[in-house]
Each structure stands twice: as C-alpha cells, then as structure tokens.
Homo-oligomer: 152 residues x 2
C-alpha cells in the first residue's frame, strides 16, 4: 500500500492535528476570556464547538505521534471510518459556527446601538478568524482520510 499524504499516522497528519488544536484553543480563548459572549446564540455555539474540537484534535495528535514514534501504522478500516465521520461532522459544525459568528459580528458593527464596543468586536472577529483556520485544517484531515478509506 502506498503512502497517502496527510492520512493518519504521517507527519503531515500530525501537523494538521497540532494546527487544529492550536487554532481552536485560540478561538476559544479569544471568545471566552473577558468578553460577554453568552448574550449571543452564535457565539455560544462557537464556544461549544471549539470545546468539542480541542479534545478530538489533541487525542488524534497523540495517536499520530505514537504511530510515528513506533512506526506502527493504525490502518483498520473501521477505526479510520470513525475518524473520517468525526472529522466531517466537526468540520461542518466548525464552519457553521465560524460563519454564524462572523455574520453576527458584521451585523453588530453596522447597526446603531451599544451592541459592540470596539474592544469586544475585535476579539469576536479574531475568534471567528481562528475558527475558520481550524475548520480548514479539520476539513483537510477529513478529506485525506476519506481518500485513504476509499482506496483501501
């Protein structure tokens, strides 16, 4: 079997997982520390999804690191299918959360009223940007693994 780049157990996969963990943690921190996020449904959704994505990515990063260090590849189709489905679901949810947050921020900036102090708005925007980055990496992992499952 030839090596699929980015599939589980490769260095590329480890980098993708570390990137996901990093960006989703950054998104969670920007949104939750010192900002009143709980007044808006979209922001609560973003915090929930990032809270799910961090342990998922961190666990798979550890699995990848173990595979690389022991040179023992985990290539059971059933396990890979679960990873692909989990990645796909989390990618869809994180895209949804990022888009919802960014559109709410855009609206808050443009309507009149005391809805968006500049300090808060900048942090909401940064958080949504980090969520987009973590979505992109999760979707990439998911597609690479799906390709591997289909070609097994």
């Amino acid at each position: 079997m030839d090596e699929t780049p980015g599939a589980m157990g490769t260095t590329a996969s480890l980098s993708l997982r570390l990137g996901q963990t990093l960006f989703s943690s950054a998104s969670l921190l920007f949104m939750s520390v010192g900002v009143e996020f709980y007044g808006y449904t979209a922001f609560c959704f973003l915090v929930t999804i990032m809270g799910l994505l961090i342990p998922w990515s961190a666990t798979l990063a550890m699995v990848d690191a173990y595979s690389i260090s022991t040179r023992c590849q985990l290539r059971l189709p059933s396990v890979l299918t679960i990873v692909v489905i989990g990645d796909l679901v989390l990618a869809i949810l994180s895209l949804a959360a990022a888009c919802a947050s960014v559109s709410v921020v855009d609206l808050l900036v443009h309507i009149d009223g005391p809805y968006c102090p500049p300090k808060f708005c900048g942090r909401y925007q940064l958080s949504a940007a980090m969520a987009f980055l973590s979505w992109f990496l999760t979707a990439a992992s998911s597609l690479f693994n799906l390709w591997l499952v289909a070609s097994l």
Copy 2:
C-alpha cells in the same frame, strides 16, 4: 466496475440534483421576491450562492438524465474530479451562507428596533431553511462522487 449509489449517471444522482435545483430556487425566491434583503451582507451572500448553485445543479441534472436515457455512463476521472471539486466548493459556500443568514435572522428577532417585521422575518427563516436542505443534498452528491473517484 460496480455501481456506486448516488454517483454521476444514476437515478439517485438525478434525484439529488433535482432536489438541489428545487430547494435552491425556493431559497432564492423566498429571499429575493418582495423582501428587502440587500441591506444585510449575509442575505446578499445567500442570494449570490443560490444564484450559482441553481445553474450548476440544473446542468448536472440534465447530464444525469441524458446518461440514464442513453445508458451511456460518463466516467472520465478528469470530468468527475471537476464535478467533485465544484460540488465541494458550492456545498461549503451554501452551508456558510445558510448559517450566516440563520444567525442574522436570530439576532434580528432578538434585538430591539424596527429591524425585523414579522412578515419579512418568516421569509428569511424559510429561505435559510431551504438553503440548508440544498446544502445537504449538494454535500451528499459531492461525497458519493468523491467515493467513486477514489475507487476508480
């Protein structure tokens, strides 16, 4: 080569494409006829994406209908790859547009002010719901075709 359900040239694929065309047209009509959508970035984005999705799905529905009637399967990997990439991009964009619209509607309903007359809000919500349905069908088409490309 065995038949992949939902891949190009099958009856399931034709149904998916017709569903996409139907739901995206419904979403476009609910959003654009008699409603002031152009004041909100998210709604303009939804209209743009639905305007792209309708011709794409309608064209592929015609290709499927032709394949079924002549029993001549179009299975060139290069063509299938273009279809998969187009589907993936449109699925991502329509999910983004649907989530952005639904979060803006949710915010408009909850903040004070003359932002959301009941007649308009109901139509925005219906339009976003139709966009979600067309996203779901586009994503399904995309995954079925990706599976076929990977197993060719």
